[in-house]
Symmetry: C2
Subunit: 338 residues, 2 copies
Amino acid sequence: MKGVEPSINDVARAAGVSTATVSRALRGLPNVSAATAAKVTQVAEQLGYSASPAAVSLASGATRNIAIVCSQLNMWFTSNVCEAIVRAAQDEGFTASLLCLGKGSLHEAGAGQRRRVQAAKLRRRADAVIVVALPLLAGELAELQALNVPVVFVGPAVTGQACVHIDEYATAREATSYLLGRGHTTIAHLTGPADDDAEEGPPLLRLRGYVDALAAGGIEVDYELIAHCDYDREAARSAARDLLRTRPDTSAILGFSDVHAAGALAAAADLDLRVPADIAIVGIDGSELSEVLALTSLAQDPVLQGEAAVSLALDMLTGAPVPEQNVFPTTLIERASV
Amino acid sequence: MKGVEPSINDVARAAGVSTATVSRALRGLPNVSAATAAKVTQVAEQLGYSASPAAVSLASGATRNIAIVCSQLNMWFTSNVCEAIVRAAQDEGFTASLLCLGKGSLHEAGAGQRRRVQAAKLRRRADAVIVVALPLLAGELAELQALNVPVVFVGPAVTGQACVHIDEYATAREATSYLLGRGHTTIAHLTGPADDDAEEGPPLLRLRGYVDALAAGGIEVDYELIAHCDYDREAARSAARDLLRTRPDTSAILGFSDVHAAGALAAAADLDLRVPADIAIVGIDGSELSEVLALTSLAQDPVLQGEAAVSLALDMLTGAPVPEQNVFPTTLIERASV
DNA sequence: CTGTTAGCGCGTTCAC
DNA sequence: GTGAACGCGCTAACAG
């Protein structure tokens, strides 16, 4: 009912000790007698006291907050990673704040490029930053580093930085090999968006895996079989339709993601092709979409990756050395699309 | 390169004015001459100054942060609403922090009940709280109110509180009427989870709409046609399968959500029923799932709702009176499942 | 229109 | 083991 929050002074007064002692006791510092510690804790609880985050932050310099920077929340990988981060942060006594830089909803005009990472929006607001599924633009890395806080990347890897990701190359290669093993020889690849800046982003890495798998199977790359589109089912559908019309001899498609694969599936339906009889389709992610559509996919675990990112960030916060490349496995899940 | 952030004092010194003037100038307060304002702004920019959020918060009492409380981020409605909130908050100069109280990932043991809303986790951390798609447990509303900040609910409505939602009753009624209009008379309803506490939650309201639509069509409710399950496709599939086995005369199913409808679709496939020939299925949400599965659905717009929630919260912050019930429309999208 | 003076609520030296 | 004093960086009164 009272509109005023009890401060550390109130606790100190009620407990008959100084504010310094309250501070020490409540934070479990060693130099407090068990008796006073108990007393203070009890009084604090009774008063419903909790330290003002702002005051703590101002005095200590730490925010106990982890900032998440992502593109859009309404994508399978991102939402799952973010949720895992939020939960892990909570469990560690951290809050989590979110920044969405993606192209934005259809309601917004333009819908052009995404917003840039702005250091000012992050400065003194977080003890660590986790960048989720966001290929960096030129200069953004520098800006993030200027924050002087641990930065962890989930998804697109950044060389020289703490990263959590799957083995893009190996995953695509395995998927392609799998299709080769099933007898396919004309395998198309509906690859991902050209990362604005990152030359070594997932699309390129997966493309290499695809190419090398073909090579290992004695098949030369046919660039007509490589289409390229954004993270959008309709775009993928359209791209796949074009591809299948240009090259009706295509017998299998490897999608960059399940979304791409779903688009390919729709394209096949558009062209009255039967899956997998006329055309086999494989995706990457192992998302719900792949379950729903019975899509064979190489599954990754976003929750594990989100948790790992938090763990890395907190370790870095303590100054502990952490491995830069934290690679998580993918597993082939066979469903009806092959 | 410098590890030290410039403070308001540095700016004041460099600009040859007092800190108070800097504060006023940078916040655009009226009582500053245009000349000094310009000077201060210029110096601040040059120094790369930005106010310490903690200090601002401590001195002003406001956090310029909006706390979002949700269950899980990896659900269509929630993730879209949250993203919209985050974006709208950003645009208004607010940060957004997130709390996930849902049952948690499969990695966590137990996976029992969700965590409770804890006021302590929110106290002095946000100027407003937006609760997204989270039916409240007993006592939680009181705890939220004790925060003394605006609280807005998106999804499940709370009487007497600022809410953003669709007309649950009318939506379900329209969906049911639509099926009636298509000649169906044995219409089942795969309804939602029993909200732990909220008697008047979406499941019950939609159920009423369903019942009343039947009544208006001269059809008596058949409780055998009402199944009940959680927000989970597999659970829905299983429930729908049971229902269809018990009542093979069922000619249509209204799902509580697209997820429920997707489960029903899978169940139909399990039983070798053809959709829509043998059984028609309608969902609610108009999510991507409904697109992918060609599910007829009553679509709602989570982005609009998230934006509205922020707008409401900020209005309440200024003390402006706001309407309590903010109802958004749903629109029927006809696809192949009917 | 501007500067001065106090706090905001804590953590953190130091002395004791 | 404990307390007094100071400072974190800023806003809010109040003077002028």
